[in-house]
Amino acid sequence: MKINVCINYFLIFCFTLLFINNSYSQCKNFAKNSCLSNLKPFIFNGQLNNAILCEGDVAELSLTFIGNQSYRIFVCYQEPLKNVEFTLLDNDNNPIFSNKENNYINYWDFVSTSTQQLTVEVKVPKEKSINDMTQTGCVSILVGFLK
């Protein structure tokens, strides 16, 4: 009986290891498999911005918008994450756009009449879950430009 309990715990331990390793492996190909096609007709800037984020985590992407060039910011994320927020901030950290005010849409297009240094801030909100477990998932920030 005691041996069975030991084995059970060992199996739980192994499954947990597998789960964590699988999360990282899934994130690696997540952008390519699930997100890139949503950038079209914008041309992807080719730079991978993937991370595994938990509820309450914040990620930031620092980038330059060239004047009079159109850009698309696409924030792609895995379930069980929900309503991931993204905000575009200017060089003084003033918000220019927030998807929170737009039904948490996960993409938006931008054009600036002058070249600007900007930041995309991505926040995973804390949601009340039934089992009180912290949710985690892959989040990818993609940037495309129109030639």
Binding site: Y9, G46, L48, L63
Partner: protein, 300 residues
């Protein structure tokens, strides 16, 4: 009693493993072996700490697009000679020049120099092989490029796919520093071309402003390179980039009449502002001198 302790050990191990990738507000710097991120103590509005930071720099393709829009004329003698490829043996040399040749390829194609583009394409293919990028990731896109070389829009999309595949492969295989080098190589090549094309006696304002505006991209590039302090080749180039930054810091860019217009129907935001760039030809000459030096180190 002994068995009770074993119970507790297993439960503790389970909890540690399950939650260890969800640590928040950590003060430790994580190794950048997965994507170009760092853990930071940066506060946002004094509320939450940033867990991941990314820095994007205009890719070689975007830089080439910027140059062609600014009216930079195509001068083949400025581009890196294909025969230089045989000199590049180390991962660093290959990655940096993948960026350089990538910018040359993109620029040649955007300027409709198809034969030149094909020449640079074959170089990119060889470098891709030398970097160990598997054929299913590199070959497929390069074959597509060959088949579509006459179609400009298709070519740009395929070049973008090639950069993504390469960036993704390198980052997923613990070589994010090489991915950063590609970006660095392409950026330097673009600035080199722009500063060498401009007429110093009668400078074209669009090209002048195009060079000046790269001030912001340079800051992001330096932040990106700083994440790979263990890479000795990047460490050699970092001080030169800081040198370049001292010139760029003197260039003033001012904004006025700022206005943000949101178009919910078209899901577009327009950031309107009037930009005033204060740059002198002397500053451009300095940028040219430093960039030419950095490029010489990269392509030699």
């Amino acid at each position: 009693m002994r068995f009770g302790n074993l119970n507790k050990i297993f439960i503790l191990l389970f909890l540690i493993l399950f939650f260890c990738n969800c640590k928040q507000g950590t003060n430790q710097k994580e190794s950048s072996n997965y994507n170009n991120f760092v853990t930071s103590n940066k506060n946002i509005a004094g509320a939450q700490k940033v867990k991941k930071l990314f820095y994007n720099v205009p890719s070689p393709l975007e830089m080439a697009s910027i140059l062609s829009k600014a009216g930079v004329v195509y001068k083949p003698e400025l581009l890196n000679k294909p025969e230089n490829k045989s000199k590049y043996l180390t991962i660093s040399q290959l990655a940096l020049n993948f960026g350089v040749y990538g910018a040359d390829l993109s620029f040649a194609r955007l300027m409709d120099k198809v034969q030149e583009a094909i020449k640079y394409l074959s170089i990119i293919r060889k470098i891709s092989d030398d970097l160990g990028i598997p054929q299913d990731q590199g070959e497929y896109t390069i074959n597509r490029l060959e088949e579509n070389i006459e179609n400009r829009d298709s070519v740009l999309q395929i070049i973008s796919d090639t950069y993504y595949s390469t960036d993704s492969y390198l980052k997923n295989n613990e070589r994010a520093d090489a991915a950063a080098m590609i970006v660095l190589g392409g950026w330097i090549e673009a600035i080199y071309i722009a500063t060498n094309v401009i007429d110093e006696k009668n400078p074209d304002k669009d090209i002048l402003n195009c060079i000046a505006e790269q001030k912001f991209s340079l800051n992001n590039l330096i932040d990106l390179i700083n994440e790979y302090k263990t890479n000795k080749d990047l460490n050699k180039l970092a001080p030169l980039l800081l040198n370049l930054k001292t010139i760029y810091d003197k260039i003033e860019i001012k904004y006025s009449n700022n206005e943000v217009i949101n178009d919910k129907q078209n899901k577009t935001t327009t950031i309107k502002s009037k930009e005033q760039i204060i740059v002198t030809i002397e500053q451009i000459k300095e940028i040219k001198k430093i960039t030419t030096n950095i490029r010489k180190i990269i392509i030699q």
